[in-house]
Amino acid sequence: MSARAPVRALLVVLGIVILGVFPLVFSNPTTTSIAFFTVVFMVCASAWNMFAGSSGYIALGHAVYFGCGAYALTLLANHLGFAAGWGVFALVPVAGIVAGLIAIPTGLIALRARRHTFVVITIAFMFIFQLAAFNLGFTGGSSGLQPPTPLWSVKTYNDNFYYVIALVLLATVALSWLVRRSRFGLQLLAIRDDEERARGLGVRVGRVKLTAFILSAIPVGMAGGVYAYFLGQIFPQFAFDPLFDLSIALMAFLGGLGTVAGPLLGALVLESLQQYFTVQYGASQAYLIIYGALFLVVVLLLPRGVIPSVEELISRWRSRSGAPEPEPGETGRTGGGVVEAGAR
């Protein structure tokens, strides 16, 4: 572990530097727009994984929080009379809070069920919210809503939005890392492994699951808010999109469910690829074929996702080239031997 730490620190620094300088190096607006969408999905996949990857509850309704964040920012900006510009970004945390608040009742209901039933309930919530957005008056129905549009040049426009969502990403990854390393994260892992056993150890499973669920909804809501502001319009079918739910789950699966870096890698690969295909070949949804093929490859060759599989390969390679591994029986004997010495 100690040998890996400097490598990890280096990778983190490298990642932050690349995130920071990307629009300076690749300043083409098409590229920066692809980068913006990619980072939006990195935020969402990372936040989703913080709950689903750690607890094993595969939620397929996080579009609810993405959409609520999008509508919250748009409605608040319009009704509170925010002028287009930097000021609207102050509403991004509010969009996150709204998403978090909505996650309380929806989470309370969905988390009463386990596994498959839970998945179905989260999907149902997503369609209920989409239906509500189509039919409620204040959401503008099927014609949607338009937040104020800043009058920045194309380059400034993309860069500003990119850096805002990059900040949200840094905060989300930091939170995800903290959760993974905390007592709270340990309890989530225990729930994923065996919920009854965790309950038997005294873990307040209901409270832990709900807290993680709410925590994961907040960054998704913030991303939804930035996304709506960037597009300058928001419609029910795009705010509450079943494909969004599948995409972020698949991104986490591709990179490595339950790891901090996995969902980031998954989103980086899949979203940039999808955006690139859309730009190259139009919005034909041909990317879905690529998605499907890629997942077949991953499921067949790297079922645990890219990062855990690569880590395993590296450690296997290391143990082969470095010190010989202890004999299988050796550790048991050592344990027993010292026990006897201690007991004397």
């Binding site: 056993r197 038997g200 344990g335 010292v338 026990v339 007991a343």
Partner: protein
């Protein structure tokens, strides 16, 4: 969360050896309609190893569940160091220094050995304290250090038992309640596990265990208790019970003292 953070030294601090630690009085408990425990009374003194034996269905595991708060007694009183445990949640009882090690396979198979051990102290907020305890435990159980990064599910049955014992020490408990520690283990591994239990006892921890292998359990213990149909049939030193003619023939297959035990 506030109630369940023993800061330090439950195991050795406090009162002198021989002091009354656990008092169970007239406890009636059961699942659903019927009573499994029918007025069970006994005491456990500090630094004892007390072994509960009895035939299947006599209420041994039910008794442990009742003490550790998983099952609430219908009548009767359970007091730990004079404080009632009745009505407390398992987590609060854990906080008082009473730790249950459930029957086999209580580790989280997909989590690493180290994560499993740390789960034993998930209620402790001070990371430095957790690290210190973990270091002490790794000193005592070298296996925990050697296999720290391995998944618990990849360990053998005996190794898993040792990790379960190690995990139970993370809260520095005064009383460790073991439910059938030797179940499913071959004799050499059972001896290792029992040696570890004895070592934990020598370090000042009181042990209350239920053991299906009555002879081995009683040999390990300072005192024994025979449970029969939810009632206490007999208490005494381990040797007294082993040599009791009736108990010997009923539960231990007779001719006890002459047979070597594990």
């Amino acid at each position: 969360m506030t109630t369940s953070e023993p800061a330090s030294g439950n195991g050795n601090g406090g009162a002198a050896p021989g002091e009354l630690l656990l008092k169970v009085e007239g406890v009636t408990a059961g699942y659903g309609g019927g009573d499994i425990l029918k007025g069970v009374s006994f005491t456990v003194a500090r630094n004892e190893i007390m072994c509960i034996v009895g035939p299947n269905g006599s209420g041994k595991s039910t008794l442990l569940s009742t003490i550790s708060g998983i099952l609430r007694p219908r009548t009767g009183e359970i007091a730990f160091l004079g404080d009632s445990l009745v009505g407390l949640a398992p987590r609060q009882i854990l906080g008082k220094g009473v730790v249950l090690v459930p029957q086999a396979h209580s580790l989280f198979a997909e989590m690493t050995v180290r994560e499993n051990v740390e789960m034993g102290a998930y209620t402790v907020r001070d990371p430095a304290l957790v690290r210190r305890r973990r270091d002490e435990i790794e000193e005592m159980f070298p296996l925990v250090r050697e296999r720290a990064a391995d998944k618990a599910g990849s360990l053998s049955g005996g190794q898993q038992r040792l990790v379960e014992l190690a995990r139970s020490l993370m809260l520095d408990p005064s009383l460790i309640v073991l439910d059938e520690p030797s179940i499913g283990l071959d004799p050499p591994t059972r001896r290792t596990v029992f040696q570890m239990v004895r070592l934990m006892n020598e370090q000042g921890r009181t042990i209350l265990l239920v053991e299906q292998n009555a002879r081995a359990g009683l040999k390990l213990s300072t005192r024994g208790l025979v449970l029969e149909n939810g009632r206490v049939r007999l208490t005494g030193t381990g040797r007294e019970i082993l040599e009791h003619p009736e108990i010997g023939s009923l539960y231990l297959g007779g001719a006890v003292s002459s047979t070597p035990a594990g």
